[in-house]
Symmetry: C2
Subunit: 364 residues, 2 copies
């Protein structure tokens, strides 16, 4: 088992990586001081529940914990205020109190939604993440939780750190291949923004990672989380440095919004976005090899590197104007200046972004 | 003008009390470093808007601030997730960004709702309170914000401290007499939990306060806020001491819930609740004069001291079981042990509470 401490002072917490951790959930809960006097609520989704919900319920109950479970439909649409309201109904009926804990069993959607329930129920109760996707290695570090609004993703939320993250690698085996690759896109991002050696390691372990070989997977997730933890430890509330984590996300979020949150997986959208950021770098005069390398590695993982032709350029631009990275009207972009290194640039013109969006539609 | 600093380390903020402050809003905003580059959103309600919205808009605009306003229907029902969603729609359309500020112009309902918008919009932006009721002197200190759920009040929320509170005493002149008395109930509560001398001062200034004589009003609000600020400074996130502020609120919230959030004003409900807490003290063997004094002072302000006869005892008890003060199943009550002094008692039996509720229905 690997362990990583996310260092946030009195809000520090551990991430445990290993095989079969789900069965030992009660021991981990007890170790972290989570009381069995108050009921625990497990939030999960309709894809994950059939595989792992009864395992987690049984594991917790065997340790004396009372649990209540809530299953949301799988998919981004469940990150809504109406789901929040429903979950709070169930929480109240089950008698959840201020000493209760909300457990997110699932991927990023479940983590964000359940995390915002934990952040806002009685103005904040404890929260445990049990990620069942690779993508969630990203969202399980940093405490960003929230729901979507019809006009913008993640616009209603909070910063709420978990008590711990229990990463049972065995739960990743049921992931479809396309979701594996999508999750690895965030892992690659952590290399691209921070650590060229990690990018080289990923490049040398593409097949190991795609087939979920445990030792490579454990190391990759650990390293990905480590990069994010380092960034978040320096800037918990996204005032400055933390923005580098948004590499590829400005274009990526716009693509997800315009394609209706279901055509492109999150990792696919940000892979295209990262190629776009590398194109911006190229136009700004940075080494063209950054663009070539970025494109090469995503292609190696079978991830898309161009915008689907039927998506409309102006709709993509409009969606970006709602993006919360546009602080005080100026356009902020995270731009790679080398492999493993990025800069936050505050004066990227809308014209350049539009040109890059057009080029991204034409890339093959 | 009086000024009080709520001392919360890096989240400290000032409360300004005075006549005509609304007209000088822009100066105060600038003084507190609020940028005019990003739009400002004013949230108010249908009762307050006709009197003060255009004044505040004009004052801010004269200082170069761009504003967008949103008017909710007056009343507790506006503290809902659906209003939150609507306000976020308007905020996005108006281009509010991470440097924007939400201003609450109104009473506690508007403050709680707008505060939760500020706490959750883009995971937290700045917040300014401009209270227009006496009751709001209470909610403007402490950073508790949130909305109601069909099953319980204030159950979805956050702790989010304002940048400042602008208390323009002139805005209180349009309050109906019943709301004035209701607001003063919270002021009296601050005396009862902390400061017997302040209770004596209030007792000697009943008429001054009821007719809103500026000097008495300013002093009373300042003292009330000071008590609350002292408590909150010691316990920002309601782990322990802060619970004393709930004197009268466990029964009070239940009465509000059972009567449908409109028959009783908040101050009226907690006045009855405080008489109930004093009755509990009497049953526990504390001096019977606490009950007599509590009842006498509320009567002097024309506030109710008994439960309306048509409200059902079992419904009131059920409503209390959902109250978030019932930590881990045990019943917690704030009980007065003298005038100006309370204790948090963790083992009050439901039977005793039921008996007191029955007695409160019979009090005259």
């Amino acid at each position: 088992m690997r362990e990583l401490i996310v260092d946030l002072g009195e809000r520090s917490y551990p991430i445990y990586f290993g095989e079969g951790l789900l069965h030992q959930a009660a021991q981990f809960f007890t170790k972290r001081g989570i009381t069995s006097k108050s009921p625990i609520m497990i939030v999960t989704d309709s894809s994950v529940a059939p595989h792992y919900l009864s395992v987690l319920e049984a594991a917790l109950q065997s340790g004396g914990y009372r649990t209540v479970s809530y299953i949301v439909p799988s998919g981004e649409k469940s990150k809504s205020l109406s789901q929040l309201e429903e979950i709070v109904t169930v929480a109240l009926e089950a008698g959840l109190d201020r000493s209760s804990t909300v457990v997110a069993l699932g991927g990023g959607v479940v983590g964000d939604l359940a995390g915002f329930v934990a952040a806002s129920y009685m103005r904040g109760i404890k929260f445990v993440q049990v990620p069942t996707t690779i993508l969630a290695h990203d969202s399980s570090v940093g405490g960003k939780v929230g729901v979507n609004h019809a006009l913008a993703k993640n616009i209603i939320g909070a910063f709420h750190q978990p008590e711990m993250v229990l990463y049972d690698l065995n739960t990743l085996r049921t992931l479809p291949a396309r979701e594996v690759a999508s999750g690895l896109a965030e892992m690659i991002k952590h290399g691209l923004i921070w650590d060229a050696e990690f990018v080289a390691w990923i490049d040398g372990h593409v097949q190991h990672l795609l087939v979920l070989e445990p030792e490579s997977l454990s190391y990759g997730l650990y390293k990905g989380c480590s990069v994010k933890a380092s960034v978040v430890a320096e800037d918990e509330r996204e005032n400055d440095l933390r923005a580098i984590l948004n590499l590829g996300h400005t274009i990526g979020h716009a693509l997800e919004a315009v394609s209706g949150y279901n055509e492109l997986l999150h990792g696919e959208a940000i892979a295209i976005g990262m190629v776009g950021s590398a194109l911006i770098a190229k136009h700004l005069g940075f080494d063209a090899s950054i663009h070539e390398e970025t494109k090469r590695i995503f292609t190696k993982f079978g991830l898309p590197t161009s915008i689907p032709p039927h998506l409309n350029v102006e709709q993509i631009m409009d969606a970006m104007m709602h993006d919360k990275k546009f602080k005080e009207g100026s356009m902020v972009f995270v731009v790679p200046t080398a492999i493993g290194q990025v800069e936050i640039m505050k004066d990227i013109s809308a014209e350049l972004v539009r040109q890059v969006v057009i080029e991204l539609k034409e890339e093959i």
